[in-house]
C-alpha cells in the first residue's frame, strides 16, 4: 500500500530534494519505500535489490536515467543521480544480505522442465552456477515471482528494451518453459 502511495507525483518531487542530500544513507532512504526497509519489496512486482550484484544495479540505474529502460517510477528517481552516486548506491545495496522471500520450491516436474529449458539456452553460462549472477549479470535465485514474470514478459515484448540479447533469448524460449523457469527461480 505504501508503495502505491509513493508513486504519486508529489512523492517524486520529494525524492528530487532528498537525493541531493549528503550521505549514502540519505540517498537510499527513498528506496526503502518500495524496495523495502529490510530488503523485502513492499509489492510483488518490485524487484529485490538487497544483495543484488553491484554492476547490475549500477547498469540499471544508468539505463533508467538514459531512458534505455523505461519505468515511470524509476526513471525520475534515477535521473537525479550522477554516475558516482549510482556506483555508490549500487555498492551499498550489493553489500546488504539477500532477503528470503519465503517462496516455495518449484514442484519436481516444474523444476525438471525449467532445468531442461535452462540447459537448452544455457542460462547458467551468464547467470552462473545456481543463478547467483556476477558483475552486470543479475542474481535470479530467490527473486520475487511476480517481478520475474513481469520482467520476462517485458523482455519478450521489448517493453524492456535495455538488453536486446536477453529479449532474443526470451523470444527463443516458449512461454510454457518461461513459466516453469519463473516458478523454479523464485523458489531457489
Amino acid at each position: 500500500m505504501f508503495g502505491k502511495l509513493m508513486i504519486g507525483g508529489a512523492a517524486l518531487l520529494l525524492f528530487a530534494a532528498e537525493v541531493r542530500a549528503e550521505t549514502i544513507e540519505d540517498k537510499v532512504q527513498v528506496c526503502t519505500g518500495c524496495h523495502g526497509e529490510n530488503g523485502k519489496p513492499v509489492d510483488k512486482t518490485i524487484p529485490t535489490i538487497w544483495g543484488q550484484q553491484a554492476g547490475y544495479l549500477y547498469i540499471q540505474l544508468r539505463d533508467f536515467k538514459r531512458g534505455d529502460r523505461k519505468s515511470e517510477i524509476m526513471q525520475p528517481i534515477a535521473t537525479q543521480f550522477e554516475r558516482d552516486d549510482m556506483l555508490a548506491i549500487a555498492e551499498y545495496f550489493s553489500q546488504k544480505p539477500w532477503p528470503d522471500l519465503g517462496q516455495p520450491h518449484a514442484p519436481k516436474d516444474v523444476a525438471a522442465k525449467a532445468v531442461a529449458a535452462s540447459a537448452s539456452v544455457g542460462c547458467p553460462a551468464c547467470h552462473l552456477d545456481r543463478f547467483q549472477g556476477d558483475g552486470t549479470v543479475p542474481r535470479l535465485a530467490g527473486m520475487g515471482r511476480d517481478y520475474l514474470a513481469k520482467t520476462i514478459a517485458d523482455f519478450r515484448t521489448r517493453a524492456r528494451g535495455n538488453n536486446p540479447g536477453m529479449s532474443d533469448l526470451m523470444l527463443a524460449t516458449s512461454p510454457d518453459d518461461l513459466a516453469a523457469l519463473v516458478e523454479y527461480l523464485a523458489g531457489l
Binding site: 544455457g122 547458467p124 552462473l128 552456477d129 556476477d134 540479447g165 532474443d168 523470444l171
Partner: protein, 569 residues
Amino acid sequence: MYVKGLAAFAAAVGVGLLSGAAIAQEVKQEKQSVLGNANVSPVTQEQLNAADKNAKDFLLTNGNYAQTRFYPGKQIGRDNVKNLHVAWIFQTDVKESLETSPIVVDGVMYVTTSFSHVYALDAKTGQQLWHYAHKMGPITVYCCGPNNRGVQVLGDRVYLATLDSKLLALNAKTGEVVWTTNIADPELGYSETMAPTVVKDKVLIGTNGGEYGIRGFVRAYDAKTGKQLWNFNTIPENSVGVWATKDATGRDMHRNIQAEKDMLGKIGDPYAKLGGGVWQNPSVDLATNRIYFVVGNPSPDLDGSNRPGDNLYTNSLVSLDLDTGKYVCHFQYIAHDVWDLDAVSPTVLVDVKDKGGKSIPGVIHAGKTGHIYVHDRKDCSLIRFSEAMVPQENMWVLPTKEGARMLPGANGGVEWSPIATDPGQELAYAINLHQPMTYHVESSAYPNGKLWLGGAFKVIPSEKQSGNITAVNYNTGKIKWQVNTPEPMIGGILATAGGLVFTGEGNGKFAAYNSSNGKELWSFRAGAGVNAPPSSYMVGGKQYVVVGAGGNTQLDYKRGNNIIAFTLD
C-alpha cells in the same frame, strides 16, 4: 605479519634495483619463509625462444611460441603411465570454471582461476607461495564465464589480463602489482579472459566482446612500463571484403548479396561495432618476426541484416608484423557469419606439406566447424582442410525466427580449446563438441555495450550430445583415430614425447591415450569437470603432469577448485 613485512621490503627496494646486499638479505629471508615468496630466477627471452626444447619448465600457455603443446619430456611414457598417481592437489579459493594453463618456471607454478586470481605454487609440493586476488571493478561484461586462461612470465614479472579489462604486471616473487594499465572500457563490453603472450619486451593481448558490439583489437604493450606500443583493429575501416558466397570449404552460405549491398548503401560500412574478439594467444614466428592469431565472430552474432559485407577480419586467420602490428595477410573462413561458428582455438606453427608435397612453414587452426585448416605461413592461403571431426548437417541453413536446425551447434566442433600437435607423427589432436542446435534470428539496434546476440542458439533437448578426441594428419587431412566421449568436450589437450596425449572431460575424467592409436592407457576421476589444458614439467628429476579441475561455466560442468599434479613413484 612476516609476509607483510617482506612484501613491504620488496616494494621499497624495487625488484630491478636490488643491490648485492639487498639480494643477500632477501635470500636469507626466503630461506626462513615458506610462505609468501617464490624463489624464481628471471626468465630470459632466450629461455622463452627455446621453450619447445625445455622439458624442465612449461613457459608458455601453449608450451612454446609455435603453440604446439608438444612437451619434449618422456619420463612418463606408454609403458609406465598406468602407474601415474596424484602428487598433490591444490585447492584454490575460487570454485568456478577453471580454464587455466599452468606455467612452470624453475620449480614454481603459476595458475589462475575465474575472476582473475593468480597463485604461485611450489611445483613439487603444491604449497602456496603467494596469491594475488584481483580487486575486480564493479562493472564486468563478459561472455561464457568469469574465466581466466593463465599468465606468462618474462624477467621477474608475471603478466595477467583481468575480467575488468586491465593488464597487470606482478612481481614474480611476491605477487605484488608492479604496474596496471586499463585496456578498454568494460562498460562497452570489453573483457579479458586470455593469457597474454610476452615476447621481446612486448605483452600481446586481444580482447573479448564480440557479443556486445565492440571493435576488436590485438595490442602490444611495453613489458617494462605497460605503455601501449601498437594497436591493430581486428575490424578494418573497410570491412566489406569480396562478397564471398562460399565458405573456406566451398559450401554456399546463402547470402543475399543484393540485400546486403542495398543496406551498405543505406548505412555505410558497419566496422565501428562489428565485434571481432580475439580469445586466445597468437603464435609467434621468431624467424620472420610475425604473429598469427584468429579473430572471432561479428556482432550481433546471428543477425547479419545490419552488418553488410564479409565483416573482415571476423572468423579469420590474421598475421601481423610483431614489431609494428602492421597487417601481413589474412584468410577468412566464413564471411558474414550468422551462426557464431567463429575462429577461437589458438593457431599452431608447424612445417606442413604444401599441395605439391613440399615441406613448408605452415600454420594450422581447428575450427568450430569441425575442420582443421592448414595454411601457408607466407601468405595465409589455405592449403587443405581436414575431414570433418564432428557430424555436419544442413550447412549453411540461415537462422530463422522459429529456429533452424544445423550441425555443428554454435559451440563447435572445436571451441576455444587449444589443440596439440606431434610433428614427428604429423598429427594434430583436437577435442570436439557435438551439440545439435537450432539457430534463431532476431533483429535489434546496437544496444550501447549490452548483450547483442541477434537471436539465440538452442540445444535440442531430445537429441543426444557427445564429444570426441580426434587425431588428424595435417599433411593429408585424414582422421587417424577418434575416441568418442559421452559429453561435449571443452578444455584442451597436451601431447608428449612419451607418445601420449592427456585430456579431460566434463564428467571429471582425466586420461592418457596412446598418441598413435588413441588407446586409453590411464585415467583418473577428478570429481569436477576437467576442462582446462594440461601442462607438464620436471622438478627434482621427476616429470609431472598438471591440470585444473574446476568444471566449466559455458557448458555447466560440475564446478571445483582443484589444481591436480600427477607423477610416477
